[in-house]
């Protein structure tokens, strides 16, 4: 009898407790299962990243350089036929398309690698994938720039840009004419050079900067030498005049003071001649060196600067790939 009133109270309590327990159990089982499933999925996607996507990216990159070389060769060959820039571009369109194809395949492969692994997550794999992405991006941008700006670079010293006009050579009969011809060539050449400064490839940009400054130097030196030559002609005239003055003074048996004055003036003239000469020598020497070094400057773009650039990417990218692989291995370690 004493139990009777208690029983109905305890019963719902027990039921609630039991339900709560069962729910808690179900919930914990669900959580555990989900974590396991998620972990499993992550494992699978990491294995996919390491074994397939990275390999696909490496393979896609491997096709870029041969495609670049094929395009450069095809364009140059077409241009040497001879043909205009436009015609040469048309005749190398297939190689250009192949290159574009190689680049876009590599970009797709990079996106595949980055999807799901680069997104916001602050884990180590994400960091490694971001760094990998940066390096690949830099590589692809520079290769795209290399191809895109090649016709412009290649045409600099052809008729199109007229930079070959900088080599005035024996076309001028005097230094003023040389200066005029140079400054005409420099005008059109500079325009093309400034356009090259906009290239996505830094080697072209750096070359364009140097060439721009070299042209400015040539112009200054050409002006100095032309002016010196004009001065010299004037000095010759002045010297003749002084010679006459001295002859005249001697004939007149002029005063010592007059002689001294003429001597002073002659001395001053000689100093001016000397200075003019030194300015001329300085400018002429630098002008000649500038012209002589220009072909080397052009050659260095491919033989040195771009070669170095490629070497840089070939050093960096494999390490980036290896680091991502090792990060995946570390995460998958069991």
């Amino acid at each position: 009898m004493t139990i009777e009133p208690v029983r109905p109270k305890r019963r719902p309590l027990l039921i609630v407790l039991a339900i709560a327990l069962v729910l808690a159990v179900i919930a914990s089982v669900v959580v555990v299962t989900l974590t396991n499933v998620a972990a499993q999925q992550r494992k699978e996607s990491l294995a996919l990243l390491k074994d397939q996507r990275l390999a696909a990216l490496v393979e896609a990159r491997g096709k870029i350089q041969p495609a670049t070389n094929a395009y450069l060769a095809a364009y140059k060959k077409a241009r040497n036929l001879p043909a205009s820039q436009e015609e040469a571009e048309k005749n190398s369109a297939k190689e250009r398309d192949d290159f574009q194809q190689a680049i876009s395949s590599a970009r797709t492969a990079l996106n595949e690698v980055q999807s799901g692994n680069g997104g916001g997550e602050a884990d180590e794999i994400a960091v490694a994938v971001t760094q990998l992405g940066d390096s690949y991006q830099a590589y692809m941008d520079s290769m795209e720039g290399l191809v895109e700006s090649y016709p412009r670079f290649e045409g600099l010293f052809r008729q199109d840009a007229g930079c070959s006009g900088l080599f005035v050579g024996s076309k001028a009969s005097n230094l003023r004419e040389r200066q005029t011809l140079l400054s005409q060539a420099a005008g059109t050449c500079r325009e093309a050079v400034n356009q090259l400064k906009q290239s996505k490839n830094i080697s072209y940009v750096e070359f364009a900067r140097t060439l721009d400054n070299e042209i400015a130097q040539l112009e200054t030196h050409a002006e100095t030498t032309a002016k010196s030559e004009e001065n010299y002609n004037e000095f010759v005239r002045l010297k003749d005049e002084y010679q006459k003055k001295v002859d005249d003074a001697t004939a007149r048996n002029a005063s010592d003071e007059e002689y001294r004055k003429i001597t002073e003036e002659l001395k001053a003239l000689n100093t001016r001649i000397k200075n003019n000469r030194s300015e001329f020598d300085f400018a002429a020497k630098r002008y000649l060196t500038g012209v002589k070094d220009m072909p080397t400057l052009v050659d260095d773009v491919f033989s040195k600067n771009i070669a170095e650039q490629l070497k840089h990417h070939d050093a960096v990218i494999p390490i980036r790939v290896q680091v991502v692989k090792d990060e995946v291995d570390a995460e998958l370690a069991e």
């Binding site: 069962v22 180590e124 050093a315």
Partner: protein, 303 residues
């Protein structure tokens, strides 16, 4: 009938109660089992993970070591680009572009490397005393490599800004035979000296030594050219300018000496840092290997 019904009424609740008790008991048992399974599932991972922690630590060791190889090409790229911008006077915005792009890339590199080291420091495997000691040495030595490269960025920037900037043209673009040479020299030297003074900010001891050596040479030459300017008559002027011109012949030697001293000092410093890093790496590697072998031996006995 009445008794039965009474019994019924008495026994009914008993029967119902025992049914519920059974359900509750079953539920409780199920719950306990499930919790047990869950705990086992969760705990089973770390339990078997002691070895995995070591494997992971070893992988991260390889990653950090491998990442150090990136500094060389990255620093080279930066210094090449920066020197072009300065030498060709490409302007403030181009200079900032190189700093923001190529120098920041290396700064991010260092940040990532430091994070890797910090992350390694959190590894459960470092509860092992021997591993912890080897790791700490590794962390210190590789931290030194990272710090060296960070400092190298500052040094490189400062040297190019001064020695490669206003000082570079001092002995190449002025006409020694020109009448205004002394005047031009003094003006350009002042710009160069001002740049050299700011270049010492943040630079390391070796770089400050180099910059001071260049500074001494330039200010010596500047003083001689100033004497030419201060001469009262043309005869004195001629004498002074001859002395100054002769002194100019020595600067190449002085610069070469400063450069050699700098290169030797930095090379020594860096090879020592690299040597220490390498030895801490192989030590850490062998301790990790030993730890893995221990795990394998234990699990071998288990089987």
């Amino acid at each position: 009938m009445g008794d039965r019904s009474l019994e019924e009424t008495v026994s009914a609740p008993t029967k119902g109660r025992s049914g519920r008790t059974v359900i509750i008991a079953v539920a409780l048992v199920a719950a306990l089992v499930a919790v047990g399974v869950g705990t086992w599932l969760i705990l089973s991972k770390p339990a078997g993970d002691g070895r995995a922690d070591v494997v992971r630590l070893d992988k991260h060791r390889v990653i950090v070591d491998n990442s150090m190889n990136l500094y060389d090409p990255l620093v080279q790229q930066f210094s090449g680009r920066y020197s072009n911008v300065i030498a060709e006077k490409a302007g403030q915005s181009e200079e900032e572009k190189v700093l923001a792009r190529d120098r920041e890339r290396i700064a991010r590199e260092s940040q990532a490397n430091r994070q890797r080291l910090d992350h390694m420091a959190e590894s459960a495997a470092l509860k092992d005393q021997e591993l912890a000691q080897a790791f700490n040495r590794f962390k210190d030595q590789y931290g030194a490599v990272i710090a060296y490269n960070d400092q190298l960025l500052v040094n490189t920037t400062n040297i190019y800004r001064s020695v490669g900037g206003p000082c570079a043209s001092l002995h190449s673009s002025l006409n020694v035979a020109s009448e205004s040479y002394a005047q031009d020299y003094v003006k350009n030297a002042d710009e160069c000296l001002a740049a050299l003074r700011t270049a010492k900010d943040g630079a390391d001891a070796e770089t400050v030594t180099l910059i001071s050596a260049v500074e001494a040479v330039i200010s010596g030459q500047r003083a001689k050219q100033q004497e030419v300017l201060d001469s009262k008559d043309s005869l004195e002027r001629l004498a002074k300018s001859t002395t100054a011109a002769v002194a100019l012949l020595d600067i190449n030697e002085a610069f070469a000496k400063a450069q050699t001293t700098y290169e030797t000092a930095t090379k020594d410093k860096y090879s020592k840092i690299i040597e220490n890093a390498n030895s801490s790496n192989s030590e850490f590697e062998s301790v990790l290997k030993k730890s893995l072998e221990q795990f394998d031996a234990v699990s071998g006995e288990g089987k």
